[in-house]
Symmetry: C2
Subunit: 130 residues, 2 copies
DNA sequence: TATTGTTATACTCTATAACTATA
DNA sequence: TATAGTTATAGAGTATAACAATA
């Protein structure tokens, strides 16, 4: 099973790189961008939990996204240790574009599956890791 | 989809490490050992193709397996460039033990799935990457 | 000249420890 | 004393180029 999930991941990630090379973001970085986009004011620690990333590694991803002016970080008055994350206008624009590419990618990678089968595949995978 | 396959892979590999730490082999190294075990006289280039590994990286894996006295390498008379791989007696023994652990691991990781669903999951994944 | 496999090496990804600032 | 996040760094995994030996 691990063999099959890994082979599928490699294939999908390879195609992801080919189709999104103009954005210079890898799949995990895209996930971070997407989660921030759909959960404004999310914190780094929440992202670490949700994506199984270690804090030091997430910090580097956030620095990269920040250097590309895709996200903004600010410290809330309620807790000056914490950081809230949200997308910049550029970030929102890029995310929207990327989501179109990625959703087409997903459909193409599953070209041998019906919509129902793809949905089922997702559910079975989630039952494995959750 | 890539997100879900990756999360599942991470979970499975993590459990793999916990249950097989005594053998000091990672999942890919186990796959190499297993493929050699079930395909005597397979060549490194065949393994590279089958497992999507690059030759220099497979070489390192084979050196590790060889240092552990799990495999034997020999050059056939028919082509002195090529290498044939097979398991040593120790290798056969270790593989047999590992396969018991791994097949139990597989069943446990899919505890929320019926046998039929697990079988289906495999087939859907293979349709993605093949 | 092409193929098989190896060596050396660089790059990316992931993991650990120590640190700053705030609570 | 504990928590959020950062920095520095080490280690594992993956990639590219150059090479030796054989076909």
């Amino acid at each position: 099973m691990g063999y099959n999930t890994r082979r599928a991941t490699l294939k999908i990630f390879d195609e992801f790189h080919q189709r999104t090379s103009a954005y210079a973001l890898n799949p995990v970085e895209f996930s971070v961008l997407s989660l921030i986009g759909h959960n404004a004011n999310v914190s780094p620690s929440q992202l670490c939990t949700e994506l199984s990333l270690l804090p030091p590694n997430l910090t580097k991803i956030l620095q990269k996204l920040s250097n590309k002016h895709l996200i903004q970080r600010y410290r809330p008055d309620s807790d000056k240790r914490a950081i809230y994350l949200k997308l910049s206008d550029t970030g929102k624009q890029k995310l929207e574009q990327l989501e179109v590419v990625v959703s087409k990618l997903e459909r193409d990678m599953a070209s041998k599956l019906t919509d129902k089968q793809l949905e089922l595949l997702m559910e079975l995978l989630q039952r494995i890791y959750s």
